[in-house]
Symmetry: C2
Subunit: 146 residues, 2 copies
Amino acid sequence: MLTIGKLGAAAGVKVPTIRYYEQIGLLPDAERSSGNQRLYARSTQDRLAFIRHARELGFPLEAIRDLLGLSDRPDQSCSEVDAIARTQLQAVEGRIARLQALKGELERMVDQCAGGRIGDCRVIEVLGDHTHCSADHSRDLHGVSE
Amino acid sequence: MLTIGKLGAAAGVKVPTIRYYEQIGLLPDAERSSGNQRLYARSTQDRLAFIRHARELGFPLEAIRDLLGLSDRPDQSCSEVDAIARTQLQAVEGRIARLQALKGELERMVDQCAGGRIGDCRVIEVLGDHTHCSADHSRDLHGVSE
DNA sequence: CTAATGTCTCTAGCAACTAGAGGTTCAAGG
DNA sequence: CCTTGAACCTCTAGTTGCTAGAGACATTAG
């Protein structure tokens, strides 16, 4: 049996995140020691690694919840699993396409900044002007900052 | 003078978002009509279009706040503006690179899903296994979902 | 035995909005 | 002039996926 800290270190997930996953029902309620501390079986490490990897791949927690539910019923068709993965793939492709349009626009901005005064700055000017927009980025308004 | 609805329509920003921007100080407090409704000058439309475009380009609101502050002092050097844009460009390039790694992994998953039962499903298997990871995606853990 | 570290619960905060309740004001049609 | 309905107001709370902190208890190394 592992304590939460060992589990987190083994799976590469921070301790509060594990408690959060338990809270939202993504992990089952952990067993407890006599002193009320969470104890985990090895299998939980696999489940947690699964979650982590899926998160890294950009799957939202709701999709991961579905995948975990599906993986608990190994005799059914995997078409649903496939659909979730395909949806995710499409989302990633869309993000890449839009980010590449943004990249082009940013490059133009930086190239045109001649190092003068702000009054002449192309960056400011381009940001105030939509006419060079090469795509509809409106669906990019969230989740892009870093 | 424009009402908030007209302004929003003209700049492509939703009404509650405009009020939110005012609340956090990104837009100055609007003038009010006798009946307490917000009224905007045309110049606000430009400022709002600037914000919208910068958001579409992925600039966080804090960076936009800085840019707006800089654009109000047009006689200074634009090196700061340039730096903000370059930072943003780097962030976008990093995101693209990581998303392309993720795309490859997702494609492998989908290709290998032979349409059988979940017990044999490669998607589930790959998600449980980190060994094929081609990069450290750990900085991708937020902001990727769509 | 004690000190340090780990764990517990709980609340609050982050970005950047979005949604809803419940009430007021405005513009147009009859 | 009056009414209707859209647009506006404020306020609170919710979203996603965590992260940070407070204050208290548990465990472990020396």
